[in-house]
Amino acid sequence: MIKISNLTKHYDHEPLIKDFHLNVVKGDVISIIGPSGSGKSTILRCVNGLENFQKGYISVNGHTIYGILEHDYNQGKNSLAIKDIRGKIGMVFQQFNLFPHMTVLNNLMVAPMHVMEIGHDEAESRAISMLKKVRLGKKAKSYPGQLSGGEQQRVAIARALAMKPEAMLFDEPTSSLDPEMIDDVLSVIRELVSEGMTTIIVTHEMRFAKNISRQVVFVEHGRIVESGSPEMIFCNPQNGRTKEFLNHFIV
């Protein structure tokens, strides 16, 4: 469903991602782990067209974004592809990025109404059911600033789900949360995964990654160091760097 091939990005001659490959099939759950600044988030942002890249391509259900140095690069085609891809993939950010001037309900309704152009009533009932799904049905009329971090992140997940995505990208969804709120968010993600949602998650929650992933990718300096099943990566890592990195975590 998602195919990342040869993805290469540099900024001012500083390589950020080098020859990244990933193949995601429907229902896949993939965790990307690695030290801070290793380019994990950048990969997700490239998939969603929030950042461009120089070489390689990203293809989602046949819609392809090319690197800007590729010979068949075409800005018009790229932006069309990005538009289609964004319609199929939901994204959740580390900083939640809820719209502070709208109620929770409106946060969930604005995109369905103006992008998918569905009616107000349908958007509202969809928003309410998504809020129930993340167990925040009672907060519909609240403003984001009135919610805790964990609640905000669950609203952000519901907001992405309201667009009925075929896949979800989670960019360190629990990194800016207090420890006691992390579980609420993780259990929502776990539930989604169990319903068969195709998921790529960048995370520092190793236990969680180990439990839900079908594949774990360890990235450092923008390169794949090691990739495989969670058992393989966490219990029997082959690469010295992977071992060293995982030693910092109690899994």
């Binding site: 929030l50 990025n97 719209f99 103006h114 992008v115």
Partner: protein, 501 residues
């Protein structure tokens, strides 16, 4: 709220005290004595008033010329002293005289009963009358009576203006400068100009596109104004004027400037008779004391025009400002440059000059705007530059994550801007926008240069004719405050309502 009431009541009490005091500045030393001992006669005038009275010589920009310069010099010579020149706005010339800035005001000041209440006039040195000027191609207006229902330009605070007002149905446009009414007449913004004959003779006679029609009407006198207590000085001036008349000096000067006519023979009448002339109001005006019912409607009308101009130009400023800010933030290289250039040019040049160009400059390339349109366009386009920068700052203050979240939900750039960025930017920019609106409210007084009579202009017209600068000034200031303060209150309430939690 209680505190506001408290402040307002203090202002009200202060005002009521002020309204009952008249401030007369007394000069201890006798003015004539002072002139003789210092050997200098200080003369107050406004060179901006223009030709042929007092104006700068185009060949020698530092030199002042005009028939009044020559009369003043002749008087000083007769007194055996030198002239000290004191440039003063014509609007406040009598006020400065009273303050003691100069010894005499000699600048086409008509002797009227209203002015005689605050200053002392000498015997006349010139008999003026009012003249109608039309376009040379226009044969419809031939007499004073023909001015009914027409658009007529005149100078403010003049007898000509009073005469037009008494006709009742003349659409009067009031100017400060002497050139502008003739320019508007040529640009078809006026049907006629009704103005003191010397001005008409000097500006309109040499211009083949203009024509003087009808007999001069509304004869009156220019006199030299001195402070009320300077009776000895006034007597001395009367003696000098008498002498200059008898010697033919004044006639010679007037002839040189082409403004001598038969009417001037009246200057030679017996002194007692002239004193009487000086005391008779030159036009059959009714003496109206300055009471609330006379000045308040004028000020309120001015305030309405101020509000109208401010609201409309702010609407232009806000919408054009948003467009400019978006162009500068999201446009391609050329669009960005265009927007930046607009902002820099409009911010970097005076509003006054922009207004002059819009109103008096554009007719040269065939675009003739009405004063009102020029005013709201001028103010609106100027303030748009400032608004644009406020919005740009506001938009840039919104975290990038907001745009990313919106884009990742499939929203287009335009939709993101409209639904996510601008509503949040508005909340940030509300205080500076209110700030600008309030300053625009006051800057709108600048549009009086294109002959619009708004609140400040209404005030200066009323104050100059009644000499109640102080009292009317406080009332006018209160009117401005009354317009701007509710605005700040409303903005504060809106701010609270829109506050992002």
């Amino acid at each position: 709220m209680e505190r506001h009431f408290f402040i307002l009541s203090i202002i009200a009490i202060a005002l009521s005290v002020l309204l009952h005091t008249d401030n007369n500045v007394c000069t201890a030393q006798d003015t004539l004595e002072k002139i003789r001992t210092t050997g200098a006669l200080t003369w107050g005038f406004d060179a901006q008033g223009g030709a042929p009275y007092v104006f700068t010589d185009q060949k020698h920009p530092k030199k002042l010329i005009g028939f009044e310069v020559e009369i003043a010099e002749a008087i000083a010579k007769e007194l055996g002293v030198k002239v000290h020149y004191f440039q003063n706005e014509w609007d406040s010339i009598l006020l400065s005289l009273q303050r003691g800035d100069f010894d005499m005001a000699l600048n086409g000041i008509e002797i009227t009963s209203e002015r005689q209440q605050s200053v002392l006039f000498t015997r006349p040195y010139y008999v003026y009358s009012e003249q109608i000027v039309v376009r040379a191609s226009d044969f419809k207006i031939n007499t004073f009576e023909d001015l009914h229902g027409k658009r007529v330009g005149t100078l403010y605070n003049t007898v000509a203006k009073q005469m037009l007002e008494e006709m009742g149905d003349v659409k009067i446009k009031i100017y400060s400068g002497q050139v502008e009414p003739f320019k508007d007449l040529l640009d078809n913004r006026l049907d006629a100009v009704f103005i003191d004959l010397p001005i008409a003779s000097y500006y309109a006679k040499p211009n083949p596109q203009l024509r003087l029609v009808g007999e001069p009407v509304g004869e009156g006198y220019y006199g030299i104004a001195v402070r009320k207590e300077d009776t000895r000085f006034a007597e001395e001036l009367n003696r000098v004027i008498e002498k200059l008349l008898r010697s033919g000096e004044i006639k010679k000067i007037c002839q040189k400037w082409g403004i001598w006519n038969l009417a001037q023979e009246k200057l030679y009448l017996h002194e007692d008779l002239l004193q009487k002339y000086a005391e008779i109001p030159p036009s059959p005006e009714k003496r109206v004391p300055l009471v609330v019912t006379t000045f308040l409607p004028t000020l309120l009308k001015g305030a309405c025009i101020t509000i109208g101009i401010s609201v409309l130009s702010m609407m232009i400023a806000v919408s054009l400002g948003i467009i400019l800010a978006i162009m500068r933030l999201y446009g391609n290289k050329w669009v960005k440059k265009l927007s930046t250039a607009y902002i820099e040019i409009y911010r970097g040049t005076p509003l006054l000059i922009q207004l002059y160009i819009l109103y008096y400059g554009l007719p040269n390339i065939g675009i003739t705007l009405t004063a009102f349109t020029a005013a709201i366009l001028g103010l609106g386009m100027n303030y748009a530059a400032y608004e644009a920068e406020i919005y740009r700052a506001g938009i840039q203050a919104i975290p990038g994550g907001q745009t990313e979240a919106a884009l990742s939900l499939g929203m287009s750039r335009r939709l993101t801007l409209k639904k996510i960025i601008l509503p949040q930017a508005l909340r940030i920019t509300l205080p500076p926008i209110t700030n600008d609106f309030i300053s625009l409210l006051k800057d709108s007084s600048l549009v009086s240069v294109i002959a619009l009579v708004e609140l400040t202009k209404s005030y200066s017209i009323l104050a100059a004719s009644s000499m109640k600068f102080f009292q009317l000034g406080i009332i006018t200031a209160l009117l401005y405050f009354g317009m701007s303060y509710p605005l700040s209150l409303y903005s504060r309430r809106l701010e609270k309502k829109l506050k992002v939690l």
